[in-house]
């Protein structure tokens, strides 16, 4: 055994180094059960270190644990008690609770305090344990003579319990206060303050009581930890925010903040800096102005070389950012990022060419990352970089850009960030935990910001678009064409260059870049956006109305088309449907256009030729129309439903039949033909196009749409289609984003070349020199005084470079939702949140996300975390009886057992009664008319006499015996009479008048039966009358017996 213990000890050591030892769990158990203390100790240590929830030998350990808990040597007792928290399971907790409770009053203080903690851990998995042990623990706590270290341990436990269910611990406040005031133990004082911080919100009167000792502590204590916790307690307990005594509160607040400032400022201990920032973080939620005063010292911390402190400072800064300091704060952060990425670039490739280095870094995700991880000393860890970028974006964009005064600056920041942003993580097998943290690529977020600015702030749209253009061009100039493009910013950026093509510096070049990039894009969603952007750009480049249709133009346009088609073609069979659909659409459209262009002779000197209208009119009109605005989340559901639209009404009374018909007949015939001719017989179509383009033009765009719409219509009856159209018109009449059919729309709706308007309005007044600058010179940028105080919606931006300009940040468009106008009750929650949408915020989605995450969270909980959810369900009413009865738990258990037993008894008796009834029924089957009651009575008596004789003797014995005898007599087949007699004889005295009558009737039937079976003489009329009472009594007795049983049970448990 000694060898085994030694081996086990070595095994435990190996386990610590990382070797599995679950196979040895049985040996662990063996050593645990050793008689020698030092072996036992090794066993317990091994159990603590190696047992897991799925270790099955644990069940066998229960008895051993029970035995050791009850041992006489305190050292042995301590072993299972301190091992239990590590291995406890609900069932183990249940069976060991009874053994542990007496240990609360063990003579050794060490045992007592360990038991308290163990009981707490037991309660976490088995809440009942707390109910049973709480009175005892409380008793210990209240006992002023208790060993101080036990009291401290109890306070620790109470503190742990305290924040879970603070209300239960309010009654303890006086005692705890006492401990706080005159307890000398710092650790305990800290815990007490933490506990009080939880209690004060529930009991405001505590504040006044606590304030003097806390301020006293703050002023006098030499222990920094205690000082900090006092301040923290004051903050967390809401003491700063409450109380009627304003001056006192003010005093405390300034005292706290000054102390904290002292901790942060200067070259003090970094730990103090850290905790002070923690405290500021808590204050900033309720008292931002107090923290704002300390801005200088906090900003110092952002530049600290210690990342932990930096992150905390960042948290803080995010809370106190305002339009006044945003530039300087972001400037600090940007400098950090810049420095780190510069260092990175240097090591990536020693080239000084910043442009090349940067682009390499962006697209060469894998390589750069690998190198970075290999290097092991990154200037800034990637997590941190991502975090900082995210914070910058949030700081700047909060409250609909309320903090931003100078959007040109912001665009510069954004385009710089796109460069700095670390490449998205490649999602592979081991990214499961890390990948979930950044579900979206940070660079896509940056791109989204850029896009938001372009959409919302018209004044700087041109600048934003140019920034996007630059991003695209840099991406395209990447030297390695084979590598996939991973930059997430491409998606929003591509959208921008497409949508605002008119504001591009050089749409031709951008188109070329996009065409270069497209084949290398990996993410299908990005690709879909890119395709759309390509065609938009093409429409803009090629569809210029004003340029003459010269030979050169013809050839260049057709070349361009050929190029676009060439790029698109591979995507026509892309596995991602959205990409595939768009590619197919655009390919067909462009082919048509190509034919048209080929057919249109170029204008010569003598003859003026217009470019094909398909090119100049039809395709651009696909993309121009209403300007797109940002719409608040959820507004879609607010679009009011027209009154005359009944969604429940079937579209057609006999829709089912129609559809069936369409399926079986119509679709195959015309549909096939159309598709075939359209898609497969293109050569034929070419011949048509040899005619003058203008003749085709009218229906050309319609033909395009027909391929998608007519098929649908071909199997719907004309009246349905008409109605559907009308309905759709109706539905979208109020929707500005629906582009109505030109024939029906009010004038001015359609193909307004909106970009030209925009251009006229605000495009050209920007100086082109202000293309986003790569090198950010923030020092130069930030100082220019923000002379004009900023209004919320219309901040006047002091433009550093040129003239003053009013910047309007468009708010998200919403439809003010009244409950009435949204009869579409998707669900009540959405409707309820509609009212918030007017503010342009997104509480609905946030709330939903929160709810979702909480629910998810319930399932997946974090590593190292212990579950205590069931503890919350426990009611710990100490005012109720259990508090008075220390053995409540045992009593309850006993009661339960007895209740079960009683139930069984009742069941048995009922069964007997039923059996008796059956017998009666059988007897009743026999014809019994004309029978004299008396004769039957006598008969009955005869049958019973024998058994009665036996039972009467036993019957006189005490209650419990009675039961048994009654059972026996019933069992020996003497019939219901015997049974009745057995019971009756015992309680003969109890005769109930009221019920007697009713029961007598029953008795009569039994008598009849008895009479019929045996023809006895009517010699005992008198006896019959005496017997008449008997069955009644049995009846009574059965009921009574049960009652008695319960009484007995309760009586038994009482001692």
């Amino acid at each position: 055994m000694d060898i085994k213990a030694t081996a086990l000890l070595k095994l435990v050591y190996l386990e610590m180094v990382g070797h599995d030892m679950s196979w040895a769990s049985f040996h662990v158990l063996e050593v645990m059960s050793s008689q020698k203390y030092h072996q036992k100790r090794v066993g317990y240590l091994a159990a603590v270190q190696s047992f897991r929830p799925d270790t099955d030998v644990l069940m066998m350990a229960t008895n051993l644990l029970k035995k050791d808990v009850a041992a006489s040597l305190p050292t042995i007792i301590a072993l299972p008690i301190s091992a239990l928290p590590h291995i406890v399971t609900p069932s183990l907790a249940m069976s060991l609770l009874g053994d542990l409770l007496p240990r609360l009053s063990h003579s050794h203080a060490a045992i007592r305090k360990k038991t308290v903690v163990t009981l707490y851990r037991l309660a976490l998995v088995y809440p009942e344990a707390l109910r049973a042990s709480w009175p005892k623990i409380k008793e210990r706590l209240m006992d002023p003579d208790e060993d101080p270290s036990v009291t401290a341990a109890i306070v620790n436990v109470v503190c742990e319990l305290g924040w879970r269910r603070p209300r239960d611990f309010l009654p303890l406040a006086p005692r705890l206060f006492e401990l706080l005031v005159d307890g000398g133990n710092n650790w305990m004082a800290i815990k007490l303050i933490k506990l009080f911080a939880v209690l004060t919100p529930l009991e405001p009167r505590l504040v006044r009581k606590l304030l003097p000792p806390l301020t006293n502590l703050i002023r006098t204590t030499p222990a920094m930890s205690l000082l900090y916790e006092c301040i923290n307690g004051i903050i967390q307990g809401g003491i700063l925010g409450e109380g009627e005594d304003f001056s006192a509160r003010e005093e405390v607040a300034s005292l706290c903040v000054n102390k904290l400032r002292g901790m942060v400022a200067g070259n003090s201990d970094p730990n103090l800096k850290y905790v002070a920032l923690l405290a500021f973080n808590r204050i900033v939620v309720t008292h931002p102005f107090l923290v704002a005063q300390q801005e200088d010292v906090i900003l110092e911390c952002i530049d600290s070389e210690d990342i932990t402190i930096r992150i905390k400072a960042l948290d803080l800064v995010q809370g106190m950012v305002s339009s006044d300091n945003v530039v300087s704060i972001v400037g600090r952060l940007m400098r950090q990022l810049k420095a780190s990425s510069a260092a990175l670039n240097q090591e990536t490739n020693g080239s000084d060419d910043l442009d090349e280095a940067n682009s390499d870094d962006e697209t060469g995700a894998g390589a750069a990352e690998r190198r970075r991880t290999l290097d092991r000393a990154p200037p800034l860890p990637e997590n941190y970089t991502v975090d900082v970028i995210g914070r910058i974006l949030r700081m700047c964009s909060q409250n609909n850009y309320a903090n931003i005064l100078d959007f040109d600056w912001y665009i510069d920041i954004l385009s710089q960030l796109v460069r700095i942003a670390p490449p998205p993580r490649i999602k592979d097998s081991d990214a499961d935990s890390t990948g979930s943290r950044y579900p979206t690529d940070i660079s896509e977020n940056i791109g989204n910001e850029l896009r938001n600015v372009a959409v919302k702030v018209k004044a700087v749209r041109a600048g934003a678009v140019r920034a996007a253009e630059l991003v695209v061009s840099r991406m395209a100039s990447d030297i390695s064409p084979s590598r996939p493009v991973v930059l997430g910013a491409l998606k929003p950026v591509a959208w921008m260059v497409g949508e605002y093509a008119s504001q591009l510096l050089s749409a031709d070049d951008t188109l070329r870049y996009l065409l270069d990039i497209a084949p290398r894009v990996g993410d299908p969603e990005v690709l879909a956006t890119a395709l759309q952007a390509i065609v938009k750009l093409f429409a803009y480049v090629a569809g210029d109305d004003s340029v003459l249709w010269t030979r050169e133009r013809k050839s260049s346009v057709s070349l361009l088309m050929a190029r676009v088609i060439h790029v698109l073609e591979p995507f026509a069979s892309h596995p991602y449907l959205e990409v595939q659909e768009r590619a197919v659409e655009f390919i067909e459209l462009l082919r048509l256009t190509a034919e048209a262009a080929a057919g249109q002779a170029p204008s010569t000197d003598e003859m003026q030729q217009d470019p094909p209208l398909l090119l100049t009119q039809a395709i651009p009109s696909l993309f121009s129309g209403w300007e797109l605005n940002s719409v608040a989340v959820g507004t879609q559901q607010n679009v009011p439903l027209p009154d005359d639209l009944d969604l429940d009404e079937p579209i057609h009374a006999d829709l089912g039949r129609l559809l069936a018909q369409a399926d079986s007949l119509m679709l195959p015939a015309p549909g096939d033909d159309e598709f075939d001719s359209y898609y497969n017989q293109r050569p034929a179509a070419t011949s048509i196009s040899s005619g003058p383009a203008i003749s085709r033009l009218k229906d050309a765009p319609e033909e395009v749409s027909s391929s998608y719409q007519h098929t649908e219509e071909s199997y719907l009856d004309p009246d349905i289609i008409a109605r559907r159209k009308a309905e759709r018109m109706e539905r979208y009449r109020d929707d500005p984003f629906y582009i109505p059919d030109s024939t029906m729309s009010p004038p001015g709706g359609r193909s307004t070349p909106i970009h030209s308007i925009l251009q006229r309005e605000n495009g050209r007044d920007l100086d082109i020199d202000s293309i986003p600058i790569m090198q950010l010179d923030l020092d130069k940028l930030s100082p220019p005084g923000r002379a004009t105080p900023a209004g919320r919606q219309q901040p006047a931006a002091p433009k550093p470079r040129s003239h003053q300009r009013v910047v309007v940040v468009a708010a998200d468009e919403t439809i003010p939702g009244s409950g009435v106008s949204t009869p579409r009750a998707y669900d009540s929650e959405n409707n309820a949140s509609d009212s918030f949408l007017g503010k342009g915020k997104k509480p609905a989605s946030a709330a939903a996300a929160a709810a979702a995450s909480t629910s998810k969270r319930l399932k997946q909980q974090s590593l190292l975390q212990i579950t205590a959810t069931n503890l919350a369900d426990l009611t710990l009413d100490e005012s109720a009886s259990p508090a008075n009865d220390p053995l409540a738990h045992e009593r309850q258990q006993r009661e339960e057992a007895e209740m079960a037993q009683a139930l069984r008894e009742v069941q048995r008796l009922r069964l007997e009664m039923q059996r008796a009834n059956e017998r009666i029924q059988v007897a009743q089957g026999v014809p019994v008319e004309g029978v004299v009651v008396s004769s039957k009575k006598k008969q009955k008596k005869k049958t019973t006499t024998t058994t009665a004789a036996t039972t009467t003797t036993t019957g006189t014995k005490p209650g419990t015996k009675k039961k048994a005898s009654g059972k026996k007599s019933g069992g020996d087949g003497a019939g219901e009479g015997g049974e009745g007699a057995g019971g009756e004889s015992a309680s003969a005295a109890a005769a109930e008048g009221a019920e007697a009558g009713a029961v007598k009737a029953k008795k009569k039937t039994t008598k009849k039966k008895a009479e019929s079976s045996s023809a006895a003489a009517a010699d005992v009329a008198a006896a019959g009358s005496g017997e008449a009472a008997a069955p009644v009594k049995t009846k009574k007795k059965k009921a009574k017996r049960v009652v008695q049983l319960d009484d007995g049970a309760e009586g038994g448990s009482a001692p």
Partner: protein, 193 residues
């Protein structure tokens, strides 16, 4: 509460691991190595609090919206302290006081120092049962039960943990009892990986 107490040396080799919740050995090792990476990259003079290692951060940041109660259950504080060649780590929830935890590590080290008389890393290797015993006197089930140095030392002495293996004399000479030597060997061999 305290979720884990770890000790490892400058090379990331664990010297003591105590998790107050049951965890797979492999996850324990991963956590240790992640924390070690964080710790070893700290510049001198930085504070004693670590950012959350990815393994823990993944679970806690995704539910920032969780209620305060639940957040109190999540391990969110990693405190470390460096003594000569050893790092002492405490992983705890936000309900613990950060500064007090630093003091707690101090108390632990002082207790060891008292028990081993001028403790060094070798003592911990040869006597790791005593490490556990000392820790057991201070923390039970993740709750601190004793912070008084005298009582802790007395508690460990009462168990006879240190007296049993007089390796203190053998320290430096590399000898010690048979058990200790065996353990040391085991440690060396496996650490070599």
């Amino acid at each position: 509460m305290i979720n884990a107490f770890l000790v490892f040396n400058g090379q990331g080799q664990p010297r003591l691991t105590k998790f107050y919740t049951q965890l797979d050995t492999s996850i324990q090792q991963r956590l240790i190595s992640e924390i070690f990476t964080l710790v070893s990259n700290r510049p001198a003079g930085s504070c004693n609090f670590l950012p959350l290692p990815p393994l823990l951060a993944a679970s806690s940041t995704s539910n920032t919206s969780a209620s305060a109660d639940e957040q109190n259950d999540v391990p969110s504080l990693v405190t470390y302290r460096n003594y000569a060649t050893l790092y002492f780590i405490i992983i705890s929830t936000s309900t613990e006081s950060p500064l007090a935890l630093i003091d707690l590590i101090q108390v632990y080290v002082e207790a060891l120092d008292r028990l081993f008389e001028n403790v060094c890393e070798l003592d911990l290797i040869f006597n790791f049962e005593a490490l556990h015993a000392t820790l057991g006197e201070m923390i039970a089930g993740g709750v601190v039960i004793e912070t008084n140095l005298e009582r802790i030392v007395a508690g460990v002495r009462a168990q006879g943990a240190v007296a049993k293996r007089p390796v203190n004399e053998g320290r430096g000479g590399g000898g010690g009892g048979g058990l200790g030597a065996g353990l040391g060997m085991g440690g060396m061999v496996w650490h070599g990986r």
